[in-house]
Every structure is written in structure tokens, then in C-alpha cells.
């Protein structure tokens, strides 16, 4: 119980995932939602690296996957910030509830 194993890392990642989900659901600021997404991606990365460490055979698959997640998170943040700036220049706010021009 006192020795740290895979379960400890998985429970920690689950808690961080839940925090990120809460941020995504409760913030109405577009950048705030983006910060929630970053928390979610980090919890997934903790899972990937922990599974990479705690498995019987050698290899680096989990770490490579985490590396790709980091790269795609950076790309996603760049595009999302550009979209937020467009939203701001059109609506003069980044409240996501106001961006409803495509609402049916």
C-alpha cells in the first residue's frame, strides 16, 4: 500500500481529469475552457507515461504517445487562441454563450 504503484498514478490522473472537466463545464470564458482542455491532456499524459513504466516488457511506446500528445496540444492551443481572437474582434467578447450565430 505504501509503495507507489500504477494505481496511485491512475487515481491521480483521474482526479486531474475530473478537475479539467469541471473547468470545461463551468467556465464561460473561451480561454478558460482552453485551460481545462490542457488539464485533460495532462492527465492523459500521466496515464500514458505511468503505463509505459509499469509494464512487463521494455519499450518506449507510451512515452512516444505522450510526446505526440504534447505536440498536438501545442498546435491545438495556437489554433484555439487564433479563433478566440477572431471571436473577440467580431463580438467584442469571448463569452462562449454569445457566439451563437450558427445556432438553429
Amino acid at each position: 500500500m505504501f509503495t507507489v504503484g500504477l494505481t496511485h498514478y491512475l487515481v491521480l490522473a483521474a482526479a486531474v481529469f475530473c478537475c479539467g472537466l469541471f473547468v470545461m463545464m463551468t467556465k464561460r470564458n473561451a480561454i478558460g475552457i482552453l485551460i481545462g482542455v490542457e488539464l485533460l491532456l495532462n492527465s492523459v499524459n500521466i496515464n500514458l507515461v505511468a503505463f509505459d513504466r509499469y509494464r512487463p516488457i521494455g519499450g518506449t511506446d507510451g512515452q512516444i504517445s505522450a510526446l505526440f500528445v504534447i505536440v498536438l496540444a501545442a498546435a491545438e492551443a495556437a489554433v484555439a487562441v487564433a479563433i478566440c481572437m477572431n471571436l473577440y474582434s467580431n463580438l467584442n467578447t469571448i463569452d462562449v454563450d454569445r457566439g451563437d450565430a450558427l445556432h438553429g
Binding site: 475530473c18 478537475c19 463551468t26 509505459d52 509494464r55 512516444i64
Partner: protein
């Protein structure tokens, strides 16, 4: 008392120093333990990399347990700080704490290169991008649009239920995952680079194309209308 600093700022600075002290002291003690054990220092010389030597010594021992609870607690505390902060700038600062502590967890798990990449790309790049986004999209940095109390309660209920479900499944014996560390060799930068350029060559090239497209697309989207 530093001249020109009022009492509350000095008190806040003391709290931050107390919080930051373990970050410096604990790795330093881990290093001194390595230096004191001659058998382990020969191990470090053989591996040729101090970071992998650190992880081989730290892993599986009492030090790893302490470090995990310290930095796991830091990850969790700053993630909760992101949840409860009202202003976006404070959320970004708490997110910095999460990212840094996750980088230390990567080091504990033997992923030294990934920890460095986490600090450089995430904390140094993505977070700065987010803060620039805040700067460019608000008249005041302390802007806040708050959810209603019922929305907060509904979201909290969903999240707590999800966490209880996930933790129950993970902690039970339903899964057949190995829960103790195997005898893996520590993944070095060399082995990571080799598998990136052999097994994962196609995703690697695709990621470079994605980055180019994203760079052009973001510059196009964010340009000033004329």
C-alpha cells in the same frame, strides 16, 4: 523587512518561499544520497546520464514514495486551484503549477526527456500563448463571466460521480494491469529518437505537416482585418 514592501506582500512572499522550498530541497537530498552510495555512483557512470541515474536510484524506494505524494499533491492542489479561480490570469498561474509538478512526476517515472519537453513546450510555450490570448482578448485581465450556482452544482455532481467511478474501477482487481514496476531499462533520448525515426516515422512526419499547417492557419486566422 525589505524596504518598500508592505506587510501583506511580505507575508505572501514568505508563503511562496515556504511552498517552493521542498521543490529545491527534496531533489537536492535525493542527489546527495546518490553521491553518498559508491555502488550507485558506479551505476551512474555506466549509464553516462545523471538524470537516468537519478531515476534508477529514486525509483522503487522510500524517496519515490515521498516525492510522489509531494508532487502528486502539488498537481492535485493546483488543478483544484484552476477550478476555483475566478479570473483567467489566476487560472493560468495555477496551470503553471500543475504543469511543473507533472514534469517532476515524469522524472519519477523515468521519462527524463519527456519531463524536459513538458517544461519547455508546455510551460514555456503553450502557457505563454494562453496568457497572450488573455491579453489580446480582454479589456481588463480580471474579466469574469461566472456560471450560475445551479450550473456549478450540476457540473460538480457529474465530476464527483465520474471520479468515484474511475477510482473504483482503477483501484479494484477488475483490471489485469501489472501494478508493480517491471524491469524496464530507462528510456534514453537515444532510444526515443531511434523509435521516432523507425517505428513511428510516419506519425513523426505527419506531426511536422500538422505543425506547418497550424502555423499558417493560426497566422491567417489571427491577422488583422483590412
Amino acid at each position: 523587512m525589505i524596504v518598500g514592501m508592505n506587510r501583506s506582500a511580505a507575508r505572501r512572499m514568505c508563503v511562496w518561499l515556504a511552498l517552493a522550498a521542498p521543490v529545491v530541497i527534496v531533489p537536492a537530498t535525493a542527489r546527495s544520497q546518490i553521491d553518498e552510495s559508491p555502488a550507485k555512483s558506479a551505476d551512474i557512470d555506466a549509464s553516462g546520464a545523471t538524470s537516468s541515474g537519478l531515476t534508477t536510484v529514486v525509483q522503487g524506494g522510500f524517496v519515490e514514495t515521498i516525492l510522489f505524494y509531494l508532487f502528486g499533491g502539488a498537481v492535485l492542489a493546483s488543478a483544484i486551484g484552476v477550478c476555483v479561480s475566478k479570473s483567467v490570469v489566476r487560472m493560468a498561474v495555477w496551470l503553471f503549477g500543475t504543469l511543473g509538478a507533472v514534469a517532476v512526476l515524469y522524472l519519477l517515472l523515468g521519462a527524463a526527456f519527456l519531463g524536459a519537453v513538458q517544461l519547455i513546450v508546455y510551460a514555456g510555450g503553450t502557457l505563454i500563448l494562453l496568457i497572450f490570448g488573455v491579453m489580446l482578448t480582454t479589456k481588463s485581465p480580471w474579466v469574469r463571466f461566472e456560471a450560475t450556482t445551479s450550473e456549478m452544482l450540476a457540473a460538480g455532481g457529474v465530476v464527483v460521480a465520474l471520479f468515484i467511478g474511475l477510482a473504483t474501477v482503477v483501484a479494484s482487481d477488475m483490471t489485469r494491469w501489472p501494478t508493480q514496476a517491471g524491469v524496464n531499462e530507462v528510456a534514453t533520448v537515444k532510444s526515443l529518437g531511434e523509435s521516432l525515426l523507425t517505428t513511428y516515422l510516419v506519425p513523426f512526419e505527419a506531426a511536422s505537416v500538422v505543425l506547418l499547417v497550424v502555423m499558417i492557419g493560426a497566422a491567417y486566422l489571427a491577422r488583422q482585418e483590412r
